[in-house]
């Protein structure tokens, strides 16, 4: 079913909208939620919460693209779940990804280091624009989608070790990029 048809079902308040949304994007959303929380049960709960969020938001929202919109909601809900249940101690995938980033972003959040949220987002987008498409995908699959190395390797068509080496280089490039722009790390 096309995204526009799914949104139309939401607009008509038809429960078929949720079934169609789940059929089209449920697998990707569950994988993202499980990557972050490290638990299939938590992931299911997060996706259900996200569907409720989508139900409440459309209408009036008319998201385009719909996939990005629901993935973003699932990520936010899953991160809150991770924080609530202290999943870092249980080894959730996102906790591991954060540990990697701590190697280059280890400073405290103080008034001096704080950037406006929008400014930081723009800087990150600027950094992403400097990367080749393949490296951009590797970076985002790891730190946005919290994919394990093996999954990224299969998607990109390189070895798992190659993903590891390239992520190490990308973190260093990120540090250099932010340092050059005088962002306190």
């Amino acid at each position: 079913m096309e995204d526009a048809e799914i949104i139309e079902l939401f607009n008509r308040r038809s429960e078929e909208a949720l079934r169609a949304l789940d059929a089209k994007y449920g697998a990707a959303c569950r994988r993202l939620a499980e990557n972050i929380t490290g638990s299939p049960e938590d992931a299911e709960e997060c996706v259900n919460d996200a569907w409720l969020g989508v139900w409440n938001a459309i209408p009036p929202e008319k998201p385009d693209p719909l996939r990005t919109y629901v993935l973003r909601i699932v990520r936010n809900v899953s991160l809150k779940c991770l924080s609530r249940k202290n999943a870092a101690k249980r080894g959730g995938g996102h906790a591991l990804a954060l540990e990697e980033l701590e190697g280059v972003l280890s400073g405290p959040d103080t008034a001096e280091t704080a950037l406006e949220a929008g400014e930081l987002v723009r800087l990150i987008e600027g950094f992403l624009d400097t990367l080749s498409a393949e490296n951009r995908v590797i970076f985002l699959r790891r730190y946005w989608f919290s994919d394990p190395y093996g999954e990224i390797a299969r998607r990109v068509g390189v070895s798992e070790k190659n993903v590891s080496v390239r992520l190490t280089r990308l973190r260093r490039q990120l540090k250099d990029y932010l340092t050059e722009r005088e962002v306190y790390l």
Binding site: R72, A133, E134, L140, K161, V165, L178
Partner: protein, 237 residues
Amino acid sequence: MTALAFSEALGGIGARYLEEAADYRAKRTRSLWKRGLAAACLCLVIAGALFLLRGGRRNTLVFNELASFSGTAAQAVGGVTSEPVSAEEAAALLGFDLISAMPEPMRAFDFTCAKLVSGEDGAVTGVVAEGYADPDAFESPGVFLTASFEEMILVFEDEGDAPDLREAAFSAIGGRSALAFRVPSQTYVNARGEEKARPARYYLLLDGGRLTFWIESRGSLTQEEVEALAAGLAGRG
């Protein structure tokens, strides 16, 4: 900035980046790594040929001028991870004190060290030392140095960034062959919209014999300081 703050901000990036990452599937069978390896073979073949043609070892470093360089040196086979170690542990792993082998002013830099560990068998394959004259000062002179027991190759971010190695001048210092290049000073706009100049950067891949060294200058480190560092390392590999 904390990793968590970064992760939260990352959540706000534009939909086009997420659509690209969601749809992306490999389009090729050969990896960058293999292309890097092919480039390395080319590099070594050319280095050998030039060496023979010149009939001996030169002791002058020639820094090729590159408009930009996006990449690094990496071990030729397998993946590695790095783990922090003290300077003493790094010296024990290498069999000599890397920092003492540096020219006098550089020894006073504030260094952090790490060991490189093979992803295949957990063996230590080298040591990294990164140091700055003043870690809190912007563009402070500094150096990023890798000493590897394994052969290292240059890995470029993508083919478009790769300089033509056939045009590269291979030179030598201290009787050891080297590939050196320089990216001149560039201007950029910082987060506050101010135009700034980034000092020239020097890169050097040096065959030290038992060890291969990869040197990247940081901040306002000069060519003379990079050469002095390479001269010191050439005799210690």
